[in-house]
Amino acid sequence: MTDRPLTRNIDMTRAPFDIGQYRAAGGYASVEKMLKTMAPGDVLDLVKNSGLKGRGGAGFPTGLKWSFVPMGENAPKTKYLVVNADEMEPGTFKDRLLMEGDPHLLLEGMMIAAYTIQANTAYIFLRGEYLRAEKLLKNAIAEAHSKGLLGRNIQGSGFDLEIILHTSAGRYICGEETALLNALEGKRANPRAKPPFPQVSGLWGKPTIVNNVETLCNLPGIVNYGIEWYKGLGLGADAGTKLCGVSGRVKNPGCWELPLGTPIRELLEDKAGGMCDGYELRAFLPGGGSTDFLLPQHLDLTLDYDVIGKAGSRLATGTMIVLDDQTCPVGMVGNLMKFFSHESCGWCTPCRDGLPWIDEIFQRFEKGGGLESDMQVLTDHLEYLGPGRTFCALAPGAMAPLGSALRHFRDDFHDHIHGGGCPWQR
């Protein structure tokens, strides 16, 4: 039993465990237990009842997602598990910690997910820049093969599984699960229409589950120690632990495994050591670049999906970006807008043509020459690029920091427009 199931093997001062060390530390026990004693349906029920939610950002219940995969006699024989390891959300570096710190944990989680939906091929879609993770995962896959944990008839169970590592050419949109599938097929990384969902028609038109790295790393613990243990890890309504990161002008930026339900203040002050000397907290994005700003008054909220949601933002990836009082909020949001604009795939009109316009306006704010009417254009785009209006969630995600910035930092925008550019640059 552990209260840090995700990071208990991780010590970044040394190399990650090889398969021998990993097994000695209890690794792959869940797979052995599962193959010997559990039917795929048992694992599905277990994960459903554990309350595990997707850790990629959307927070969708994992068991529910899996349950849409057609199973049984008449289901397609070919199915796929795809790991979304294309971690590109601004401010997010949690999956990297898992893959670089304990690569076998991901493989163990993948085996559980693949067994549950009876997929015989699993892909890891890895961010191209994660060179260290690539090397470590390649090695871990080879080790697992050599020990008979991958390949045909694993541990005499009759279950086959191959894991294929794919390194991405590098687009933010590949983190969108259907764009990821198109990219994996060698096509343009445009998202697909949903429905049909990947569980029905995914990779190469076959039933497919796409899960985030961290989501999968939760699975071995759940299989090993059960639902009660897992639910007990969380302090609030949500079950389990969460990797939480902090970046910005804090004394000790980094990433830690915390029980869900931990107060934000504890993350910011105890783990990240509080603000650097001479800086005050102005606001923060609680879950990466595509979440709404929260303010210092929200520090006592807990890290729960619903709690953060009620405050008007999202827990999303759980990796916080801190805005201090000596950094221009307009510049920060403008930087994000430039990023999102550049990362639009170009498929749907509002995102493709709306984000560059927003980007141009922010550049004008920065240089001077911003117009009061620009504020109306920005406000119009909040709805125009909002949920349901665009093809996928990229543009609505971009509107989260923009909309909250327009609410919270109105005066800063005013200063830019009427002061001839960014006051911090003058």
Binding site: P356, W357, V377, R389
Partner: protein, 918 residues
């Protein structure tokens, strides 16, 4: 039927469709870009946003894309909801951000879907004040202009070109707002259906380059419903004219045939109309001693007088498969049935007669092109459809996707979800088997292509028929099984091989299938025909008359005073010796034709006739469907339709003076044409005594067009032949569109206006004639007949879409894509004969010989010899086998570049899309 509510009004809908399609079907104006009636929805442009409500109590609603939302029973939506209106105005505002607003110099202007939709969405004030994104344009070859700066990134071009037409060299490149639609490298668009980009693109990115050379706004074009002359498929077109020259051809929707798309030969092949090889005046070769042999011009009046005088005696008349039914009928009436001969080559006539018999055989059915698209297993025999009857090939590219439709139905994905259906099915295709002497352009979607000479194809067809009947193995069994298991099997061939045996062997497969598949009402089998009226002439020959061989023999033996040859280059139809003998035995040779060619320059009297755009005429397509092709504009006074030159000498003795009376008379008197009178428009109700205008209500300059010649306003030309007028006045399209000169509706200036004339999206036209079927299934079902392979040769003749057709080959744009004659052999054959790639070879047969460049292909039947005639070689001279020898290189530069030559064989390294091959 389901019901939906749109802004408080209840409509009956098909729940299998999406909301956008249903709204448009009911005549509602809802703007869209990425959706296309026959390419479905992908949800990219977001222009068709509407508000949808959960139920009657829901007053908030949510904005949805109508193209991506099913028209489910009980759906409640609003087009006029302010949020939906705002969304649509936001979309059009951002689409226009980088658009150059160059409508005054843009060739799309006035028929631009983007203009229409911008108006409809109410965008008229520009807020965006930053720099526009600009692009570099590409030279895409002789057919298509590229102006990327006008692009609104609807993705229709690549969805059409790549997904629908099977092209590989047009792509969406780049990303975010720099996305670019073009080729990886500048160069000619390879696909044979590229011209449809002009109509698929909602703005002026892809425009018709041939039209650019003599551009006119849509509203200034005089137009009329016409039929394509490129092959025997009978695609419907709308040619447009201004100042006496034909300016362009666009698609005219026909539900059963071409739908929304034409091939590039049909669209760009019109240029011969204005060719400098056009025969513009009558001429006669003098026989007087002082000027013997000199060709002298005649006035029309003198020409007619001379013609009547020369042809008063014992006259042979030779018809033409590229002349209208009316002209052929007039010739037959003029010379009498005993003196009337077919203008086919001998094997063409035998083959087309065999095809007619099969088209009359009960238990078989000749599919229209739309039905071909629905086939879920297709066997193509010998015909290189992309090059002979291209619209069939485009249809078969859709047919192989019926596997995808089936998978989607099983997965409950609606078929209009275009991208989702493609993602689901990936490379799974319905079975398509091709038998051919060489690789074809459809091989990339074929389950298997059998490369064989005519003889070995006949052999395999026999095995397939036997396998269907119960005993087979190998490929024959595979094909038989696929045909037996299909819901809608279809067999497609043609007459290119000139082999009746091959036609019978093909029909035997259909007959065998009919015997084993009593569940099918009839087995689909059709034969592509080469010329626009091949079927019409073949039917006429059923009513009496002789063969071309008989005509040539009779002329050679001096048993006629004169010969009248109608619109026919006979050097393409018989051996040079036979033609020479006939000409020297003919005291007076009269030829009526449009274009100077190798044959008609030898005529004593040469009479210029109108082209398809300058005359009314009836053409009968491969199905036996007779269709009217209307005169678009009055020709120069020196030109007359063939039937007018051929008017009986005493016009009072006959009423056969106009195209309508000739057609009506033949329908009454010739059993083969019974029912053809249905083509004549019935003028009742509001249309009684009114004519349909050929000019739009915006037609400009009417009073000034000839002011440079005479300031007095010219009287409008009277059309004494048809129900159309050369005028703006007459029946408004909105009242009666039975003669649809051009698709136009209020607020819909582009070709997308066609939806206003369909009974529903993709449905039949509400008015208008689909043609008259002349062939009845009057012959009893046949059992498979025995077929011999004795008469077949290892020589086959290659067809090319560009250059392979006599008239369109003379269009400059087509000529720019054409190659000259060449010899094609396989690697083994080349080695045996000592031939080099791009080298030269001497071919000879009897007294004939020719020197040709050599193309060595990988994908060619063993032992087969391919010859492309390219208008240079007489096919009949070499049909019965050739001997080949290499010619030493003398350093002469080939007429065409090697590169162009090599482009012909891009399918040698075919990348098969079909799964489970081999």
């Amino acid at each position: 039927m389901a019901k939906i509510t749109v802004d408080g009004i209840i409509y009956e809908v098909n729940p299998q469709n999406n909301l956008l399609q249903e709204c448009l079907s009911h005549g509602l104006d809802l703007p869209y870009f990425c959706w296309h009636p026959c390419m479905g929805s992908v949800g990219a442009c977001r222009q068709c946003a509407v508000k949808q409500y959960r139920n009657a109590d829901d007053k908030t609603g949510v904005v949805v894309m109508s193209c991506m939302t099913p028209a489910s029973d009980g759906a409640i939506i609003s087009i006029e909801d302010p949020q939906a209106v705002k969304m649509r105005s936001n979309v059009i505002e951002s689409l226009m951000i980088s658009h150059p607003h160059d409508c005054p110099v843009c060739e799309e202007g006035g028929e631009c879907h983007l203009q229409d939709m911008t108006q409809m969405s109410g965008h008229n004030y520009r807020r965006y004040d930053f720099k526009k994104v600009t692009h570099r344009n590409q030279n895409l070859g002789p057919f298509i202009n590229h102006e990327m700066n006008r692009c609104i990134a609807c993705y229709r071009c690549v969805r059409y070109y790549d997904d629908y037409a099977g092209g590989t060299d047009l792509a969406a490149l780049g990303s975010h707002h720099h996305v670019y639609f073009g080729r990886q490298e500048e160069g000619t668009l390879e696909n044979e259906f590229s011209g449809n980009l002009v109509e698929v693109c909602p703005t002026g990115v892809f425009t018709d380059k041939t039209f650019s050379e003599h551009y006119t706004r849509k509203w200034d074009l005089q137009t009329a419903p016409s039929i394509c002359t490129g092959c025997g498929a009978g695609c419907n077109t709308t040619p447009g004219e201004r100042y006496g020259t034909l300016r362009r051809i666009v698609n005219r929707y026909h539900h059963d045939l071409n739908g929304y798309f034409l091939c590039d030969r049909g669209r760009f092949g019109y240029g011969y109309n204005s060719s400098d090889r056009r025969i513009t005046e009558a001429s006669i070769v003098s026989v007087h001693d002082d000027e013997k042999g000199v060709r002298k011009t005649l006035t029309t009046h003198d020409a007619q007088r001379q013609f009547d005088a020369m042809t008063a005696g014992d006259v042979v008349g030779i018809g033409s498969p590229r002349a209208s039914l009316e002209s052929n009928l007039a010739l037959r009436a003029r010379v009498g049935v005993k003196n009337f001969y077919a203008g086919f080559s001998a094997e063409q006539q035998q083959c087309s007669q065999a095809v007619i018999a099969i088209n009359r055989e009960q238990g078989l059915h000749c599919p229209d092109i739309r039905t071909l698209e629905q086939a879920d297993c297709v066997l193509v025999v010998n015909e290189d459809l992309t090059n002979t009857s291209p619209r069939f090939a485009l249809a078969l590219r859709q047919a192989v996707r019926n596997r995808a439709s089936q998978l989607a139905a099983d997965a409950r994905i609606p078929l209009w979800q275009d991208a989702a259906v493609r993602e689901l099915a990936q490379n799974e295709l319905s079975p398509l088997f091709i038998l051919s002497p060489q690789g074809t352009r459809l091989d990339d979607v074929a389950t298997d292509t059998f490369l064989g000479t005519t003889a070995s194809q006949i052999g395999l067809l026999g095995e397939i028929a036997a396998a269907i009947a119960g005993s087979g193995s190998g490929l024959a069994q595979q094909i038989a099984t696929a045909l037996l298991n299909a819901k809608h099997p279809s067999i497609v061939s043609g007459i290119s091989a000139g082999s009746v045996e091959l036609i019978q062997a093909t029909a035997n497969v259909a007959r065998a299938l009919r015997q084993r598949r009593p569940d099918l009402a009839a087995v689909d089998i059709c034969f592509a025909l080469p010329e626009d009226n091949t079927m019409g002439l073949a039917l006429l020959m059923e009513e009496g008359g002789g063969t071309l061989e008989q005509a040539l023999q009779r002329l050679a033996s001096g048993n006629a005073d004169a010969a009248i040859v109608l619109e026919n280059d006979l050097t393409l139809r018989a051996t040079p010796d036979a033609i020479d003998a006939a000409i020297s035995g003919t005291p007076t040779l009269v030829v009526i034709d449009q274009i100077h060619n190798a044959f008609n320059v030898r005529a004593r009297l040469l009479l210029p006739c109108t082209s398809f755009a300058e005359q009314n005429g009836t053409l009968v397509n491969y199905e036996g469907r007779a269709q009217s092709s209307h005169q678009v504009f009055p020709a120069d006074a020196a030109l007359r339709p063939g039937y007018e030159w051929l008017t009986p000498i005493d016009p009072l003795s006959s009423a056969l003076t106009t195209s309508e009376t000739i057609l009506y008379h033949s329908a009454q008197t010739l059993p083969a044409f019974a029912g053809a009178e249905k083509l004549l428009p019935a003028r009742t109700g509001i249309a009684a005594l009114m004519k349909s205008p050929r000019q739009s209500h915006r037609y400009s300059g009417r009073t000034a067009m000839s002011a440079n010649l005479n300031v007095h306003e010219k009287k409008q030309t009277t059309d004494r032949e048809s129900a159309m007028s050369f005028s703006m006045e007459g029946l408004p399209l909105q009242k009666d569109a039975s003669l649809l000169s051009a698709a136009w509706a209020p607020a819909w200036n582009s070709n997308q206006a066609i939806s206003k004339f369909q009974d529903e999206i993709n449905g039949e036209l509400k008015q208008g004639c689909k043609g008259a079927h002349l062939l009845q299934r009057s012959l009893p079902p046949q059992s498979p007949v025995s077929v011999s392979t004795n008469n077949t040769s290892n020589v086959y003749f290659i067809d090319h879409i560009f250059g392979g057709d006599e008239l369109s080959a003379m269009a400059p744009a087509i000529a720019a894509r054409s190659v000259g004659a060449y010899l094609c052999v396989g690697e083994a054959e080349a080695k045996r004969l000592g031939l080099q790639q791009h080298g030269r070879a001497q071919i000879s047969s009897g007294s004939y010989s020719a020197e040709l460049p050599v193309l060595i292909r990988q994908r060619i039947a063993p032992g087969a010899i391919g010859i492309y005639c390219g208008g240079e070689i007489n096919r009949h001279a070499f049909a019965n086998g050739v001997s080949i020898s290499a010619v030493a290189e003398d350093g002469n530069v080939l007429a065409r570049s090697h590169q162009m030559f090599d482009e012909l064989v891009i399918n040698d390294s075919v990348n098969h899309r079909a799964m489970g091959r081999g």
